[in-house]
C-alpha cells in the first residue's frame, strides 16, 4: 500500500513537472532566441535535405554563427520535427522532455544514494518546482539534455559502485559519452568525474582490466568528436570564453607590472570565480548576470530552500553512506568549466551543478522533518504553501513580467516580421538592419528564405573551412534578402525595398515626413514598446 502511494506521488510529481514545462511552451510570450532558432532550423534542414544551413551533410558539430554546437540535441530532435514541423514547440520540446525525465532520474539517484524512497520523492519534488529546471526546460537548451544523460550515467555509476556489476559500468559510460555529445561542459566534467571516482576508490588497481576495457569502449564511442579536438570545432568554444584567453583580460592585471602578477592574480581569479558558484547570493537571490538567462526576481532556487540546503549539507557530512564521495565529486567538479570562463555566474555552463544541490535540498527537507517529528505536518504544510506561492509567483514573472522587460534579450518580433513578409509580393527586396548579421536565422526558421537557396550561398563561403575556422563565414545577401548594417542616408531612396530596423537603430524622426517612405508596420513588444519599424520605399 505504502509502495503504491509512493508511486502515485511520483507520478503526480512527473505530471505536475510536465505541466510546468510544457504549458504554453511554443506560443506567444517572451520571444524566440537566435540559438534556439539555429538549433531548430538545422534540425529541420537535416530532416528536409540531409544537410545543415551551410550545406554540410550530417555534421558532427553544428556550426552556428561563430560557435559550434554539439550534435545530440539536433539529431534527437528529428522525430519531433517530423511530427510537428518547424515550430518553436518542436525546437524546445526535447529540452522539456529532458526536464520531465530528470524528475524521475533525480528520484532514482536520491533513492539509490540514501536508500530512502522518501528522500527520492523529496528530491524529485525539488527538481519538479525549481526555477532553474523549469527555466532550462522551457527553452531549446542542449545543456538540459546533457544534464539528463549525465544524471542517467551517474545513476548507473552509483549502481555499479554499489553492486559491482560490470554491465552497469558500460551502460554508465555510454550515457556519460552521450552527455559529452550534447553539450560542452560535460566534455570536461564527465572524464574528470570518471577518472577521479575510480582513483579515489581504495581498491582501484584490482579492476585494472575493467578500467582499460572501459577506456577503450569510451574512446571508441567518443572518437568521432575526439578527432576534432585540435580544430576550431573541437576547441573554439573552450578557448574563446576561457579567462586564459588574451581576449578576456582579467581585472587587476596591469601589463606595466609584468607577468609575475599572473602567478598571484590568475589562481586567485579562478578560485574566486569557482567560489562564486557556491555563493548563496547567486544561488538564491541574484542569479545569472545575463538577462537572457533569468526570470525577473528569481534565482536558481527559491529563497526558502536556503535553510534546507544548509541543513542538508550539515547532515550530509555527518552521514555514513556508501560512496558518499561520488556526490561530493559531482558537486565539486561540475562548476569548474564555468569557473574557467570569464562570466561571473553562468547558470547555463554550470547546469550540471544544480542537480546535486537539489538532492541536498531534498535531503535537508527530509532531515528537518525527521528531527522534528512532532512538527512534521507543520513543516510539510509550510513547504507545500511556500512552494505553491513560489511556483505561482515564478510563472507570474515568467509570463507577465519577463515578456515586457526581457523581450529584446529574447529576439522578440521576428516571427511577426516574417508573417508580414509572407503577405508581400515575392519580388520585394528586403533589407534587415543588423550589425551582427545574425537575424538571418529567424528568416530561415520561419521559412521565409528557401533552405536550398541559403545552403547554396553559405556553402560557397564556408567551403572547406566548416570545422577549421571560427571566422564569421555567412552570406549577407541571399536572393532578395540582405542582412547587414544599413547606411540610411545613402540607401533611403532605394526603390521596391522594405527596410527593417530595430527601434534602437533608427529614430522615427529619420523617416517620418519623407514622401518617398512609408512606415508600413510597427512591431510592438508586449510592453507596448516599438520593437521594429518596417519601412517601405514608395514607388
Amino acid at each position: 500500500m505504502k509502495k503504491n502511494l509512493n508511486k502515485i506521488i511520483l507520478l503526480i510529481l512527473i505530471i505536475l513537472g510536465a505541466f510546468l514545462r510544457l504549458n504554453k511552451l511554443g506560443i506567444g510570450g517572451i520571444g524566440f532566441f537566435r540559438d534556439e532558432a539555429a538549433m531548430g532550423f538545422n534540425t529541420w534542414s537535416i530532416l528536409k535535405t540531409g544537410k545543415d544551413e551551410f550545406g554540410q551533410s550530417f555534421p558532427l558539430f553544428f556550426r552556428s554563427f561563430e560557435v559550434f554546437f554539439m550534435p545530440a540535441y539536433e539529431y534527437l530532435s528529428l522525430p519531433i520535427f517530423l511530427l510537428f514541423g518547424p515550430t518553436e514547440f518542436s525546437a524546445r520540446a526535447l529540452s522539456s522532455i529532458s526536464g520531465i525525465l530528470l524528475i524521475f532520474i533525480s528520484y532514482l539517484i536520491a533513492k539509490e544514494f540514501f536508500k530512502s524512497e522518501k528522500i527520492g520523492l523529496l528530491t524529485a519534488f525539488v527538481i519538479c518546482i525549481s526555477p532553474w529546471s523549469i527555466f532550462y526546460s522551457r527553452g531549446a537548451f542542449e545543456g538540459n539534455l546533457a544534464l539528463l544523460f549525465f544524471s542517467i550515467g551517474f545513476y548507473f555509476w552509483l549502481k555499479f559502485f554499489n553492486s559491482n556489476k560490470n554491465k552497469l559500468f558500460f551502460i554508465s559510460l555510454l550515457f556519460f559519452v552521450l552527455s559529452m555529445y550534447s553539450y560542452q561542459a560535460p566534455r570536461f566534467v564527465a572524464p574528470f568525474f570518471i577518472a577521479l571516482s575510480i582513483l579515489l576508490n581504495k581498491n582501484w588497481t584490482k579492476k585494472i582490466k575493467l578500467w582499460i576495457f572501459g577506456g577503450i569502449f569510451t574512446l571508441m564511442l567518443y572518437l568521432p568528436i575526439l578527432i576534432f579536438t585540435f580544430s576550431s570545432a573541437g576547441n573554439h568554444r573552450a578557448l574563446g570564453v576561457s579567462i586564459f584567453s588574451s581576449n578576456n583580460p582579467i581585472s587587476g592585471y596591469n601589463q606595466d607590472l609584468g607577468n609575475w602578477q599572473k602567478l598571484y592574480i590568475f589562481p586567485k581569479e579562478v578560485f574566486s570565480l569557482y567560489l562564486h558558484y557556491f555563493s548563496p547570493m547567486n544561488l538564491f537571490s541574484k542569479s545569472d548576470y545575463n538577462p537572457q538567462r533569468i526570470v525577473p526576481n528569481f534565482s536558481v532556487f527559491y529563497l526558502w530552500m536556503f535553510p534546507f540546503l544548509v541543513i542538508g549539507l550539515i547532515n550530509f557530512f555527518k552521514l555514513k553512506v556508501k560512496n558518499k564521495k561520488l556526490l561530493i565529486l559531482w558537486l565539486l567538479i561540475s562548476p569548474i568549466p564555468a569557473a574557467l570562463t570569464r562570466d561571473p555566474f553562468h547558470t547555463y555552463r554550470s547546469i550540471l551543478f544544480y542537480l546535486p544541490l537539489s538532492v541536498l535540498i531534498g535531503f535537508g527537507i527530509y532531515k528537518c522533518i525527521e528531527h522534528h517529528k512532532k512538527y512534521k505536518n507543520i513543516i510539510l504544510t509550510s513547504v507545500f504553501l511556500l512552494s505553491l506561492y513560489s511556483v505561482f509567483s515564478f510563472f507570474f514573472n515568467l509570463f507577465k513580467v519577463a515578456p515586457v522587460t526581457l523581450w529584446r534579450e529574447w529576439d522578440y518580433g521576428y516571427k511577426e516580421i516574417t508573417e508580414y513578409i509572407k503577405e508581400q509580393p515575392s519580388d520585394l527586396r528586403v533589407v534587415i538592419d543588423d550589425p551582427y548579421t545574425e537575424s538571418y536565422i529567424h528568416f530561415l526558421f520561419y521559412g521565409v528564405i528557401p533552405i536550398e537557396e541559403y545552403q547554396k550561398e553559405a556553402s560557397l563561403i564556408v567551403a572547406d573551412k566548416y570545422y577549421k575556422s571560427s571566422e564569421e563565414l555567412r552570406p549577407v545577401k541571399v536572393g532578395r534578402f540582405e542582412f547587414r548594417p544599413v547606411d540610411w542616408p545613402s540607401e533611403r531612396g532605394d526603390k521596391n525595398t522594405l527596410f527593417i530596423f530595430p527601434s534602437t537603430r533608427l529614430y522615427p524622426s529619420e523617416f517620418i515626413g519623407d514622401p518617398n517612405l512609408s512606415l508600413v508596420k510597427t512591431i510592438y513588444s508586449l510592453g507596448n514598446d516599438p520593437a521594429f519599424y518596417l519601412i517601405k520605399s514608395v514607388k
Partner: protein
C-alpha cells in the same frame, strides 16, 4: 588561543585599512519604503493591471527581499577573500578582507575538535550579526567588520592545528603565507 587570535588579527588586511564607520546604526525606513514602492510601481507599470500584480509584486516583499539580498551577500565566502573580481564587475563593492592562506586556516579550523567549545558563541554571534546586517543593511568594507570575529576564531583554531604539522609542511605553509603577503603588499602599497 588568545595569542593565536591576536596573530590572525594582526595578519588580517581588513584591519589594516580600517576606519571607524559612522553609519553603523543608520536606518531610514521611510526612504527604504519609498524606494521599494518606486521599484514595484515601475515593475507594475509595465504589466497589465490585475489583482495578481499586487499579490506577487508588492513593496513589503520588495523591502524584505532587498534586505535579505544583503544578508546573502554577506554569506558569500568569496566576499571576504577576493577583490576586484567577479562580484565587483556586477556592482558589488569588493575589497579583500582576508588572505587566501587564511581561507585554508578557516577550512582546517572547522575540523579542529576544539570548535565545539566555541560552537554556541559562534552560532549566536553569527545569527545576531546577520540580524544587524538585515536591519541596518551593512554592506561596506567598514560596516561589516563585526562579521570578522567568527572568522578569526575559526582561523585561530586552524592555525593551532597547522602549528602541529610536520616541519616540512609547516615550511610550505609559511612560504605560501609569506609570498602572499609580499604580493599583496607589492600590489597595494
Amino acid at each position: 588561543m588568545k595569542k593565536l587570535i591576536l596573530i590572525i588579527s594582526l595578519l588580517t588586511p581588513w584591519f589594516w585599512f580600517m576606519k571607524l564607520p559612522k553609519d553603523f546604526f543608520d536606518i531610514n525606513l521611510k526612504q527604504d519604503i519609498k524606494e521599494a514602492r518606486l521599484i514595484v510601481e515601475t515593475e507594475r507599470g509595465k504589466i497589465p493591471v490585475n489583482t495578481t500584480n499586487v499579490f506577487f509584486s508588492n513593496w513589503p516583499m520588495k523591502l524584505i527581499s532587498q534586505r535579505l539580498d544583503i544578508v546573502l551577500e554577506n554569506l558569500d565566502i568569496g566576499n571576504y577573500f577576493f577583490s576586484g573580481h567577479p562580484r565587483e564587475r556586477v556592482g558589488i563593492e569588493e575589497k579583500q578582507k582576508f588572505f587566501f592562506f587564511q581561507f585554508i586556516l578557516l577550512i582546517i579550523g572547522f575540523f579542529n575538535m576544539k570548535i565545539r567549545k566555541y560552537k554556541k558563541f559562534l552560532g549566536i554571534y553569527s545569527v545576531i550579526s546577520l540580524v544587524f546586517v538585515f536591519i541596518f543593511k551593512w554592506r561596506s568594507f567598514y560596516q561589516t567588520i563585526p562579521l570578522s570575529i567568527p572568522f578569526i576564531i575559526v582561523m585561530a583554531l586552524g592555525l593551532e592545528k597547522v602549528l602541529k604539522w610536520p616541519k616540512k609542511w609547516l615550511v610550505v605553509f609559511s612560504s605560501l603565507t609569506f609570498f602572499e603577503i609580499l604580493f599583496f603588499c607589492l600590489l597595494n602599497f
